[in-house]
Symmetry: C2
Subunit: 601 residues, 2 copies
């Protein structure tokens, strides 16, 4: 296994050059922090990644969680890792200080999550879910709930989960049927079943706290009748002792990858003694869920980029070390073979991976920056940051997820037959990364969110702001002669995006919702490619600034390598929009027209 799983140099380039995380400390909210603290946080995260996470990557895959006597046993290393997460303050790192957090910018927290995901995605999911669930209690819970749950969750003694999915209600959240009967004591009696719940039971923690979607008896049908509850595995009795809360694990799923993390089916209230506590108002569950979900969606993007990063460095190391074949223009068999990295086709596969990993990561940091600025800005500026984050969320989830799969697959391909065998971790990365277009809302759902909702928010305000933001980058790039062709290609693409968007929105006015959204997944793909091209141009500004300073040694290599990767993205990836534009601008409802009986043979 390669020692390297992320580029620290690139991470710092993005954090401190491109997105200038240190500048956030000028705002009172972040003034307790400074660059040195950020560096220390990153250094610690790297240490945890190297020492606690990466060494267990393969073992956790080969020894997945077991279901024994109604309880889930996970890899023993998770205890030490969660202890570290609690003691090191990793769960609440970006929560406000008044809530017991460290008020760390999300930009920095994201960098750490990226490191953890690259080191061992399955392990990363445990604290991440606790983090998301805790944030929701912190934002919407009563003081009582906060007191009871947050300290235990922030210390990682208790696991948090997001318990949404039910067998009959996967992507159709409004069809949740878990029932909550209000009791005089103030709690609800919960009855129902959930499926596909990550980290929903395991022996590395004392208790599990489910943030659960349910329906108060008599609530209206659909999403308007959904409420959110805290449903712990164990609750306190009157003596302050933890007792079972009638939550039962029915079984574990056996998965293609992402095996270190247990995913279960669970049932609540088999003995009519499962208690839940309302979070947010009755029938207001959807909004709360989306707060948690939106965070998790971007985390999915981080997870996918992390895995793709690890796969890339694995493929890179192999390609540098593996001799095979000779240069195409001098095939003399009596000469020694060359490392495969010297073959242009292998360099193409490596550049592809790097372009995806570093481009995705840039987009994710862009989102984090908007989120951080949303907290510290006001008025128009705050709205702008909020709208841009909203708009980019489905893209920041899906682009890294979908392209991450292709990226890891190219990594595997670099190793040939060895990539297909378990002597190298590529085949595991390939299995692990496949989860990302599925969980926290499939790619199809993200496409509908983007086209059906996000580009139409406030009469297209988010979309307009996006165009402005990208054009700001194009404007800045025009100051660098080396960037002119890329600035011009991006402007050209942006005009196509505007044209397609207008065409589709018009279609939405004149045709059924089915026809309007039939190709929303392709629109998402188009938007994703252009957004990552934008991010490469954003990086280009700082690459060129760096190169203008006449760097030497490894710094020169790094910046030239980045610039070649930028060129690669514009040469090989951006042109993919042409086919998408051609299809989208000719949307004819073909798939709507297709009848079910035509599939009969």
């Amino acid at each position: 296994m390669s020692d390297k799983f992320i580029s620290e140099r690139n991470l710092k380039f993005l954090l401190f050059d491109v997105f200038d995380a240190a500048s956030l400390t000028q705002y009172p909210y972040y003034e307790e922090h400074n660059r040195e603290i950020f560096d220390m946080v990153l250094e610690t995260a790297m240490k945890i990644g190297k020492d606690l996470l990466r060494p267990n990557l393969e073992e956790m895959d080969k020894n997945p969680p077991e279901f024994v006597d109604g309880e889930v046993r996970v890899h023993p290393s998770m205890k030490a890792f969660l202890k570290e997460c609690g003691e090191g303050g990793w769960i609440d790192s970006n929560a406000p200080m008044e809530a017991g957090g460290q008020q760390l910018p999300l930009t920095i927290a994201f960098a750490c999550r990226f490191i953890f995901s690259a080191a061992n995605y399955s392990a990363m999911v445990y604290p991440l879910l606790t983090d998301g669930a805790a944030h929701l209690i912190e934002a919407l819970g009563t003081e009582d709930l906060k007191e009871t749950y947050l300290p235990k969750m922030y210390s990682a003694e208790w696991q948090g989960t997001m318990a949404l999915t039910e067998a009959q209600a996967g992507s159709s959240i409004g069809d949740v049927t878990t029932v909550a009967a209000p009791m005089e004591e103030g709690y609800y009696k919960i009855r129902g079943q959930k499926i596909f719940i990550s980290a929903s039971d395991h022996d590395a923690v004392e208790n599990v706290v489910h943030l659960m979607l349910g329906r108060i008896e008599g609530a209206p049908p659909g999403v308007k009748g959904i409420s959110l509850f805290v449903v712990p595995k164990k609750r306190y009795n009157d003596n302050g002792e933890l007792v079972p809360n009638d939550v039962h694990i029915a079984g574990l799923y056996h998965k293609l990858g992402y095996r270190g993390s247990p995913i279960t089916q669970m049932s609540m209230g088999e003995n009519d003694d499962c208690r839940g506590w309302l979070v947010g108002g009755p029938n207001k569950g959807l909004a709360g869920m989306f707060q948690m979900m939106n965070e998790q969606r971007i985390d999915v993007g981080l997870g996918a980029s992390g895995i793709a990063s690890a796969a890339y460095y694995e493929a890179l190391e192999y390609s540098k070390e593996r001799p095979q074949g000779r240069p195409l223009s001098s095939k003399d068999p009596s000469k020694p073979q060359v490392p495969i990295i010297e073959h242009p086709d292998v360099k193409r596969m490596l550049l592809f991976q790097r372009a995806i990993v570093e481009g995705s990561l840039s987009l994710l940091f862009q989102c984090a920056k908007f989120a951080d600025l949303e907290i510290v800005t006001t008025g128009e500026e705050k709205e702008k940051n909020s709208l841009l984050l909203d708009l980019l969320t489905p893209i920041a989830k899906s682009y890294p997820a979908e392209m991450g799969i292709l990226s890891v697959s190219q990594g595997l391909q670099c190793l040939g037959g060895y990539g297909y065998c378990d002597e190298f971790p590529l085949e595991q990365h390939y299995r692990d990364v496949r989860i990302h277009p599925i969980h926290e809302g499939t790619t199809g759902i993200q496409g509908q969110d983007l086209l059906g909702r996000k580009v139409r928010i406030k009469e297209g305000k988010a979309f307009k702001l996006y165009l402005e933001e990208v054009r700001k980058t194009i404007g800045a790039a025009n100051d660098f002669p080396e960037l002119l062709p890329f600035a011009s290609a991006l402007e050209n693409s942006l005009e196509k995006l505007e044209k397609v968007t207008k065409y589709l929105l018009d279609l939405g006015e004149n045709e059924s919702a089915e026809v309007f959204l039939a190709d929303a997944t392709l629109y998402l793909e188009l938007f994703g490619i252009i957004s990552v091209a934008w991010q490469w141009l954003v990086q280009g500004l700082f690459i060129q600034k760096g190169l203008n300073d006449n760097p030497s040694g490894s710094e020169e290599g790094f910046l030239h390598g980045k610039f070649m990767t930028l060129r690669f993205f514009f040469a090989y990836e951006l042109p993919k929009i042409e086919g998408l534009v051609q299809r989208l601008i000719n949307s004819d409802g073909l798939t709507v027209e297709m009848k079910m009986e035509y599939f009969s043979d």
Copy 2:
């Protein structure tokens, strides 16, 4: 698991309408056959697929081969299957009758291989390898070798293999170092190691016959010094008893998928007692290997399409049965949920799979038809069939392989979380199909074969013939008003292909081989998309003929479904050439320019 894994209706449509396999029986070589025989063969193949192969699909994955006491144990069902292969004449089905075969057209043999691959790809590989090895002995071996090996191989009592790869020589075949020392007795003493050898040892057969690449002592370096040998696991001694031939299995690989088939490392001559017999002349091994390899390459395409077919029908069944969500234009939550197949985005995913599976299969049958015609034609016509088969081989290998992965991935996606779990076979199909861009020459190698060799054969004669062939289809399509837009789109694409090809060949004249071939993989992709668009138009001719006959019932549904899939391919897949053309026509040697040290961070 879905009952259906292939469409028999579509198979017959391709075989008997589109490619008119029955017309082959007009040639003396095939005159012993007729449509009834073909139908019977197909029916038997379906029965074997259903009864002997498919029931063991998951079990063979969960219980992969084991290495016990130096020997490989495979799933017990392989014995019964290989017995059936021998008794039913499946190994030698398309071999000439004088060689003990049935002289079945390859078109029909391919259909059977497709059925077997779809039912259980790992199992299919056993007879397929024997078939390839036997054909080679039959074509190039001495009478002695034929007598010794062919009956046992055709009866499937002995396994055949293709033993090429060595640790230091994967894609670089010329670096094979297995040594063959000529002995006075007429055999060679073999010494060396091989890796990644499929079906190279197992307990379902009595003996294994390796077709092995090696190097006669003193042979020139590189591919010019490579010879081909028959190296059995056991050889006959003077008493006609089978005795060990000093071939040892060093271990098994643990693979991502394709687990039912054992892949081993082996060593020959540890005790200086491994004998091999030359096949073809000394140092003439490459030509023989390519005969075997070219057959296997097309079989890889069949294997990938087979797996993609099984995955498609799995996804289709699930999509028809799984209720989830409501129509986008009437989301009333009090109404029942609809099967997900009613969502346009799910239909898009299903149409994509169908377009890939049926388009690939058509291309594979097109190749089979050229191969069958090559046998029975003479002069110019024979050369034409031969050149077109050569040209299309890398495409028929790679398009189904690469697109098969995406197709299965979309099948998995249709099932959401369930697709990621082993309750359904999608996750296995996803693992299984990933082998295909790797074995029998990676996609990168196929690209170089296509652009570096095939389009240049005989001053571009194969390429010219290809253009003529496609334009013949375009001409015929112009007789059907419904096909006009597709005929015109294909003509347009063909002109782009010509332009790109000319551009690249010019580049080849003026630049280094590295620059010329740097984007050969993209060229292969471009050529593949256009070739499958061609095949959809070929099918379109017969779809329209069928529709003009006013069909009813399921036949009408089948033909309309096919036509919608044709439309889908032209609307969603063919436009993907735009981005590829844009890149290829701007080939600038970017990946050649990229330096190794730029990858250092």
